[in-house]
């Protein structure tokens, strides 16, 4: 355990942990977006419900979910504590600032973007995860599916609005986070880094766009 204690104590180790947990969350997003995109078959949620049933009952997926929540928790706690400690390194502030001249605003705002995501996440888990795992509301025998739950939630414009804001925060969070994770792990190469950066930009635009399309499409009744 002593061997890995640097992941919680040193400035570089803490960033390594942020990178590892961040990249595993990126992998999760890809699976999540892929499965949820099944609603775009517009078959009354049949394909989607089938996939959701598999995810809910496969023991491998269920065990991975524990790892996912652990990684998420570490990413949140470590992220908040790193932001707080970094903010204490300059007690006397600059009179003139020219931040945009040397860096992107979203790279300097990861703490705020992450916090917006956290607020969204609480609402999102309450809508779907809690309902499907801890209540009897969603069961095939009860005649109600996860797809039906989506239809109900996204009838209301407020969740649709919050979900779109959440997706925009996610896009900017990923735009910096995806390539930053590789840098934190020491991966910077004249040939591979441009490829990593291009994949990062593509991922950051595409995945949040697919996610944002779901509440919008359901609210407007394009998918029934």
């Amino acid at each position: 355990m002593k061997l890995l204690s640097f992941l919680f104590t040193s400035s570089i180790g803490r960033k390594v942990l942020m990178a590892v947990t961040g990249l595993s969350l990126v992998a999760f997003l890809l699976v999540h977006a892929g499965i949820n995109a099944c609603i775009f078959f517009n078959d009354g949620g049949e394909t989607f419900n089938h996939a959701a049933e598999f995810m809910a009952h496969n023991w491998l997926i269920r065990s991975a979910e524990i790892g996912l929540f652990l990684g998420l928790l570490i990413h949140i706690v470590q992220g908040l504590s790193l932001t707080a400690s970094n903010n204490q390194k300059r007690n006397s502030k600059y009179g003139a600032s020219a931040g945009n001249a040397n860096s992107k605003w979203y790279s300097r705002s990861m703490g705020i973007l992450g916090s917006l995501l956290l607020i969204f996440l609480v609402m999102h888990l309450k809508h779907f995860w809690v309902v499907s795992r801890f209540t009897d509301a969603i069961q095939e025998t009860a005649g109600s599916t996860l797809f039906d739950e989506m239809v109900v939630v996204f009838k209301d414009p407020l969740p649709v609005f919050v979900y779109v804001i959440g997706c925009i925060s996610l896009a900017y969070h990923l735009l910096h986070g995806f390539q930053s994770a590789f840098q934190s792990l020491g991966i910077n190469h004249p040939a591979y880094s441009p490829i990593i950066q291009s994949i990062g930009v593509g991922f950051s635009i595409l995945v949040p766009l697919v996610f944002a399309a779901m509440p919008i499409a359901m609210h407007l009744g394009w998918i029934q």
């Binding site: 640097f6 390594v16 600059y94 020219a98 931040g99 300097r108 910077n188």
Partner: protein, 251 residues
């Protein structure tokens, strides 16, 4: 001779480390051919002639190699130009009638000594913790007895151009010293002469960096963008790599 420019300056004045400090406004007529520091010499002569305390600022070589000058000009360390130090910045980069804000490096790791002068001995302590190599005394060995590939020598040399001015710390939102430490670790770890202490060095230097009160790296890239020697961000990746591998080896 070129026409003189009329400039308004907002300069940070701070009596000592423990006093609060504030901006003072001054008017200076400067030639566009002057360097930024020469313009400050003119300001200080004006202040001395009127019986006021001159502005304290660091400078030494005035040719961009010593790393002493350290002014944040309009929010940017070493001013608006890329790849230059304050002493190599000329007044032709500004316009007649401009208001220019001049501040010291601001970071808890660099306490202000007076006005625009900061104490950068934290960097010295980081170097002392591991930024050296061990060599045997005796006759100088033949230059070609240790072969070093050209690309490796180039990488080490590029990192070695760091003059330790601290612009990276002053530009970073976290006041992180990762570009400086990355440059020093890269310079030494790439070459065979630096291999014996490779792992203990990186761990010692990072420990000292953290102890001096510098922040962690958010990879915003502000440091490399403002570095007067244009040290690339890849030295930070190299530092991370060296550190992770040393830690995994139990150092």
């Amino acid at each position: 001779m070129s026409k003189l420019m009329k400039l308004n300056l907002k300069v940070w004045r701070q009596k000592n480390t423990n006093s609060a400090g504030n901006f003072e406004e001054y008017k200076v007529d400067a030639s566009p051919d002057m360097s930024f520091l020469e313009m400050f010499d003119v300001l200080n002569e004006q202040l001395i002639e009127t019986g006021k305390e001159p502005v304290a600022f660091d400078h030494d070589c005035r040719e961009g190699i010593c790393g002493m000058c350290s002014m944040v000009i309009d929010g940017r360390p070493h001013g608006p130009k890329q790849g230059v130090t304050t002493c190599q910045l000329h007044m032709r980069s500004f316009s007649d009638g401009d208001t220019i804000t001049v501040e010291p490096w601001r970071a808890n790791g660099f306490p202000v000594i007076k006005d625009l002068t900061v104490n950068r001995s934290a960097f010295d302590r980081i170097i002392a913790s591991g930024g050296f190599i061990s060599t045997n005394a005796g006759n100088a060995v033949d230059a070609n007895s240790v072969l070093i590939p050209k690309e490796v020598a180039d990488e080490a040399f590029e990192a070695a151009t760091c003059i330790g001015c601290g612009a990276c710390v002053s530009a970073c939102k976290n006041a992180s010293a990762m570009l400086f430490v990355g440059a020093k670790v890269t310079q030494l770890s790439k070459l065979p002469q630096g291999k014996p202490e490779r792992e203990s060095r990186v761990v010692a230097m990072v420990n000292q960096m953290d102890a001096e009160g510098f922040g962690a790296c958010t990879n915003t890239g502000a440091c490399a963008a403002e570095c007067p020697k244009q040290i690339p961000l890849s030295v930070i990746a190299n530092l991370n790599r060296e550190y992770i591998s040393a830690k995994m080896n139990g150092k």
